[in-house]
Subunit: 216 residues, 2 copies
């Protein structure tokens, strides 16, 4: 039936590899939810994007809701961990590290237009579904705690001002990142995000103790 099955070697087993199918579903669901929101992302569109059928979906997930939860836990959360948590493990200068991450935020047009997947889902689903809300809150909390943690370390080693409240500052940083993300998404303009990144970086520099200021 499948023409590709003729000359495929061991890769043919993928045609019946449940983990592979599950992963395809998760990625497709993420794409469509990212594009049009969870509620408006139809199962048929997700299935078409994944290249599987409804039977496969409901074999792996018991509902659309469950699929959405899995997207949060298995796609969005790992993405935040990779972008914010891992780079903050064992750094020498927290401010430098945070500046590096913020400057590494993508300003490609399609990313700016799509916004932050975490924030998108939180905005849409937090008031409507407690299951989404809790899972997203866990991600936000881990994010803030990771930032607050390096700021505390920076304070003990003298690279961060003592009068900074780490948790507050971490929350402010996240609010700035998400806020500028929203503005840039509405403007559909990478320039807005670039300007935002500059302002956030300036603010991050202001967290250094007086006299310890590096370049600028």
């Amino acid at each position: 039936m499948l023409a590709a099955g003729k000359n495929s070697k061991r890769r043919a087993t993928r045609l019946r590899d449940p983990e592979y199918t599950r992963e395809r579903l998760l990625q497709a669901a993420f794409r469509e939810v990212y594009r049009s929101g969870f509620q408006s992302a139809s199962l048929d569109t997700i299935l078409a994007s994944a290249g599987v059928t409804k039977g496969a979906l409901y074999y792996h997930f018991q509902s659309k809701e469950a699929l959405g939860y899995a997207v949060v836990e298995e796609v969005i959360a790992p993405d935040v961990r990779g972008t914010w948590l891992r780079p903050l493990q064992s750094v020498k200068d927290p401010i430098d590290a945070l500046i590096g991450i913020v400057q590494g935020i993508s300003v490609r047009p399609e990313v700016v237009r799509g916004g932050c997947p975490l924030n998108n889902l939180a905005q849409e689903m937090s008031p409507l579904d407690a299951g989404f809300r809790k899972r997203l809150a866990i991600v936000f909390h881990a994010w803030r705690e990771a930032v607050a943690s390096v700021l505390r370390e920076g304070q003990t080693q003298g690279s961060v001002r003592r009068d900074v409240e780490p948790t507050d500052a971490a929350g402010l940083l996240i609010a700035m990142v998400e806020g500028y993300g929203s503005l840039a998404k509405n403007a559909q303009d990478p320039k807005v995000m670039k300007a935002g990144i500059r302002n956030i970086v300036d603010w991050l520099r202001s967290l250094r103790p007086p006299g310890n200021r590096k370049r600028g």
Copy 2:
């Protein structure tokens, strides 16, 4: 047919007052869109909330999209003008005025849980519908310009630091407000918004020239 029509005086004309019906539709649409997003707000729900029927809706608006556009222009935009633009007209101290507005942001649970109507719609519809995007961008632009304007005035009269770039600072303020709004909406917790307001106010105070600092 209507029992209430018996003893109603001139108010009975409201039963056939097109402007009144239109306004009810706008308010109901705003409520439902605020509750569940534009795409997920069904016309039947809006109509039930407004207490009118589909015939009335399609007499006043040519489509659901047109109704949504009208909500932006006739409900959301005036709300932002009333909250941010009007209070900033002819103030003596811009920083004080901005602090006053920020501290006036509602922290009632239902408002925190619902988030900012402007940001909600922008997040949902900006990438999907240019008509929404443009109308919302106009509101954001007016908001930022109003803040930037008072900051410029403050600079000429000496109540705002000269090294502050008014447009940048205005954008940062809005990003903070919307960003904290998002975090508080996800947390479903007024405390998050209160903490955000304190941090924003602290940042606003830092815009004052050195030596001109009032209380704190």
